[in-house]
């Protein structure tokens, strides 16, 4: 008789994002996952209808996880600098605490599962972030601009640094490790650039 095992389920989820992060969705199979977890293929099919079901649930769950992590201590009514600082900190911690997750999200972005991921992410995070973005323009802290431009200036520097950190090297293969001081140095420049 097989029984539900929460530890096994969590191991399955963790190994799945590791495999996909490393080799993409094409490299992923239930068989491979079972071997990586040291469990039978059958155990996985008890919890999930099929591979698509497993990947859908993973995408949905991670949309929610990322949404929640980004909202930690975030106040949509905060000033531009405070609100952006909190967002930056949240994203930085989430991505550096678990580098495997960043790699997984990169694969997710170009996969058929991205929609499901975004659906749960938006359900959590869309309103608070939209409110914040409205407020900072209404208050005259930041000029109105296309969202993509705002987002690129606000977050791309952070993502670039985190990517270098998670890969262990920066430009031209130079060894690199990020720290909080760098985070805030980049952040100060971002604020300077975006503030009206």
């Amino acid at each position: 008789m097989r029984a539900r095992d929460i530890d096994k389920e969590n191991l399955v989820k963790q190994k799945a994002i590791e495999i996909i992060g490393k080799g993409g969705f094409e490299s992923f199979s239930v068989n491979k996952l079972a071997k990586a977890c040291g469990i039978s293929v059958a155990t996985i099919y008890i919890y999930y209808k099929d591979k698509h079901d497993l990947l859908s649930q993973l995408a949905t769950e991670h949309g929610h996880l990322m949404g929640q992590s980004m909202l930690h201590n975030f106040d949509p009514e905060a000033s531009f600098e405070d609100g952006l600082r909190q967002q930056g900190e949240n994203r930085y911690r989430y991505m550096t605490d678990n580098p495997v997750i960043s790699l997984f999200y990169e694969q997710l972005r170009t996969s058929p599962y991205q929609e499901q991921f975004l659906a749960t992410f938006k359900a959590d995070a869309y309103e608070p972030f939209s409110k914040f973005n409205e407020n900072i323009v209404a208050r005259g802290e930041v000029r109105d601009m296309p969202l993509e431009i705002y987002w690129s200036v606000a977050f791309a520097p952070l993502y670039a640094l985190v990517k270098f950190n998670n890969e262990g090297k920066s430009i031209g293969g130079k060894p690199f490790k990020m720290n909080d001081k760098m985070l805030w140095e980049a952040f100060d420049l971002v604020v300077k650039g975006l503030k009206k």
Partner: protein, 74 residues
């Protein structure tokens, strides 16, 4: 403790939608099968059957009768 004895799993060679269509009438009309699906996207082509009455051997016979390979997935 949760019991999963009603989830029957098999390794098969049901590889395509056409293959699935061959088995569809047989599996659909069986009153002892609550639900069934085949994972066409994975290498074991797992047939997953929800049934509170059937035993593995019975399903194996059903599938083999249609000309497909079917063994219990352990």
């Amino acid at each position: 403790m949760e019991n999963f004895d009603h989830i029957l799993l098999f390794k098969t060679d049901i590889r395509s939608e056409e293959d699935k269509r061959v088995l569809q009438p047989v599996l659909d009309k069986n009153k002892n099968i609550e639900q069934w699906n085949v994972d066409l996207n994975d290498e074991d082509y797992v047939l997953r059957i929800i049934s509170y009455k059937l035993k593995h051997e019975q399903v194996i016979e059903l599938v083999q009768d249609q000309g497909y390979m079917c063994t219990e997935l352990k």
